[in-house]
Amino acid sequence: MYYNVLKILKEGLNDNKGWKKTWQNPEIKKKYDVIIIGGGGHGLATAFYLAKEFKIKNIAVLEKNWIGGGNVGRNTTIIRSNYLLNENEAFYEFSLKLWETLENQINYNAMVSQRGVLNVFHSDAQRDSFVRRGNSMIINGADAELFDVDKIKSIYPFLDYDNARFPIKGGLFQKRGGSVRHDAVAWGYAHAADELGVDIIQNCEVTGFKIKSGTCIGVETNKGDILANKIGCAVAGSSSVLMSKANMNLPLESHVLQAFVSESLKPFIPGVITFGAGHFYISQSDKGGLVFGGDIDGYNSYAQRGGMDMLEDVCEGGLALMPTIGKARLLRMWGGIMDMSMDGSPIIDKTHIKGLYLNAGWCYGGFKATPASGWCFAHLLAKGASHSLSENFQLDRFKNGYMIDEKGQGAQPNLH
């Protein structure tokens, strides 16, 4: 089904009775060319680009719950390409470029809104490091601007400029950054993949792999065994659990990250703002709710909920930056399970088992990566070789010493 304005008008006159399902509910086939495990953003994007760019037919996405129920529907929706290291920056800039044309590609309104991302800094040393990051962004073809305090005041008058402890000294601004309606990304990719003949199978949990003399030939699921030539795993926070079925230990820990949404307020925050002296980021959704978050709770968790101490920490950061939000009431909070890698960077790679491929380690920044991750993983699955933008995201980099440690924290996942 193709969505356009005429169709909306027609359906409006027709009591909206003519809409077809956004994606079908197909019968499972016995065998596929490629199976993608995990119907989150990354899995669905992979399936879409496999079909669209790499012309692979006969693809299935197996999702244990429902489409959009994982991190893709739980994040704070920020997209940006403001990384320091070349290995990351080039990849995330490619992703941002894909976001810019996404809606036409998938024929779905994902509300991609490039309203700007501002990272404020509070000291001279922090300015130096942000300038360096900005230069790295520009070298990699992204946009970056250094804002002085007056400029920030003119756009964001509500920040606390008199804060004695964390004075705002300026900010690094990326105009092309912003936010995207996260659920619509999942639905849109699912819709577009379905249009290209991808089987999207919900409520289908992979419980094991069929491995014959070092080659993975299929998966075991709660709906029976399914064979495939290639199997791509993109299950984010569940990666370790899934790959343990192939007797693999991964360089990952699963941690919970929480998100918070306030009651609806009149629009007053023009983009995404992040605090430089603590971990706090905020934007205002189109419905008016303030959407904000901070750090992961810091301990291994598969619970999809976190503790009140992190709520307190996040609110302290928020109030230090913009005391004006202190009167807003919190409406909702929830958690998602993050696949925190040992260097804070992702993995898009084959495994030592033939036919079995891995996409994981997205930490809490994988939403913005969705299009590029799908594209590069599809490239790897289709061609058997890494895309040049993801060739550094190797699984064995920890063994070989090629870590991509954006923050320089070492092998301590809860610090990334």
């Binding site: 370790s240 659990v241 230990n249 991964l250 820990e253 810091g298 619970a303 063994k399 301590q412």
Partner: protein, 96 residues
Amino acid sequence: MIIDHPLLGPRDASEFIYLGDASLLNRPKWDEEKSEDNFYKYLYLRENVAGMHKELWFHQQGDRSWLVISRNTVTHEIFKVELATEFKKNMGKSND
């Protein structure tokens, strides 16, 4: 989460800092044939189980002791809290 400290009684988890899997107590020997591979596994690979997990916590804002906590990572329920020194003794290792 409330952590029932073996010496101090119930304390809020926010007083503690989390290090990770208690397998970090099993530091490999440096002078073995496979020590390079062993250190790679020790430093970077984790079981990362969904379920019962033994893990290291440091009482940073308390008595600064290291604890080994047995906790269910799916429910956050804590089953056992031991001093890391005791835990290591029971592992049959010396504390130097």
